[in-house]
């Protein structure tokens, strides 16, 4: 449960980056972007973000489904807070 705020902030952080880059991409592509293209680009941006976040977020999971100790999880959390500046 202690890791919930970090998960939330890391998600928000990544979403800001995704939205900004997607916006830039669409504006470069001009008007009349075909629907198929629009959707493929959206999937691309989500796919990259989701797959990159998967590793770190898995190490913050709180369901005790594996042998990791609470201590390890908290250490991972502190490292992520530090590295992504999530406490600001």
């Amino acid at each position: 449960l202690a890791t919930v705020p970090t998960i939330k902030k890391l998600r928000a952080y990544a979403e800001r980056i995704r939205a900004a880059e997607l916006e830039k991409c669409l504006s470069k592509m001009g008007d009349d972007i075909p629907k198929k293209t629009r959707r493929a680009v959206d999937d691309l941006s989500r796919g990259i973000v989701n797959k990159l976040l998967h590793g770190p977020l898995q190490h913050l999971r709180c369901d005790g489904s594996d042998s990791r100790t609470l201590n390890d999880t908290l250490e991972n959390m502190h490292a992520l807070n530090r590295m992504f500046n999530l406490e600001a």
Binding site: L1, T3, V4, P5, I7, K8, R11, A12, R46, G47, N50, K51, L53, H54, L57, Q58, L60, R61, C62, D63
Partner: protein, 119 residues
């Protein structure tokens, strides 16, 4: 056409969200949701529901937002087509975190995280 009208409301809703006008966005998505239901278009119905959830979140109305994000999950269940579910699990968790229900937030984040690796 009605479909055209639907797409246009979704688009306007997104623009309002981007421009920090969540109340106006809510109205657009609400209209879009009705149109999508009438047209029996589940994909656009999910987009409208997600938009409604996001609009309410931006207004700090987290409990109502959860209702609409959960609607995405219900539509997926009904249609046996789960696009948008990962995002919905994450958004519901965010809302529970905001209202201090960390137990439920953690549960939804777990489902969200387990799905990040999928397509």
């Amino acid at each position: 056409s009605k479909k055209h009208e639907l797409i246009s409301h979704l688009k306007t809703g997104k623009n309002f969200l981007r421009n920090q006008e969540p109340e106006k966005a809510f109205l657009e998505f609400k209209t879009a949701l009705e149109l999508a239901k009438n047209l029996k278009d589940p994909i656009e119905e999910k987009k409208a529901a997600r938009g409604l959830g996001a609009s309410l979140q931006r207004q700090g109305k987290y409990r109502e937002a959860i209702k609409y994000h959960s609607m995405v999950l219900d539509i997926s269940e009904r249609e046996k087509e789960d696009s948008g579910n990962t995002e919905a699990f994450g958004a519901i968790a965010d809302c529970y975190a905001e209202i201090g229900d960390l137990e439920r937030a953690a549960k939804f984040y777990d489902t969200y995280i387990a799905r990040l690796d999928e397509d």
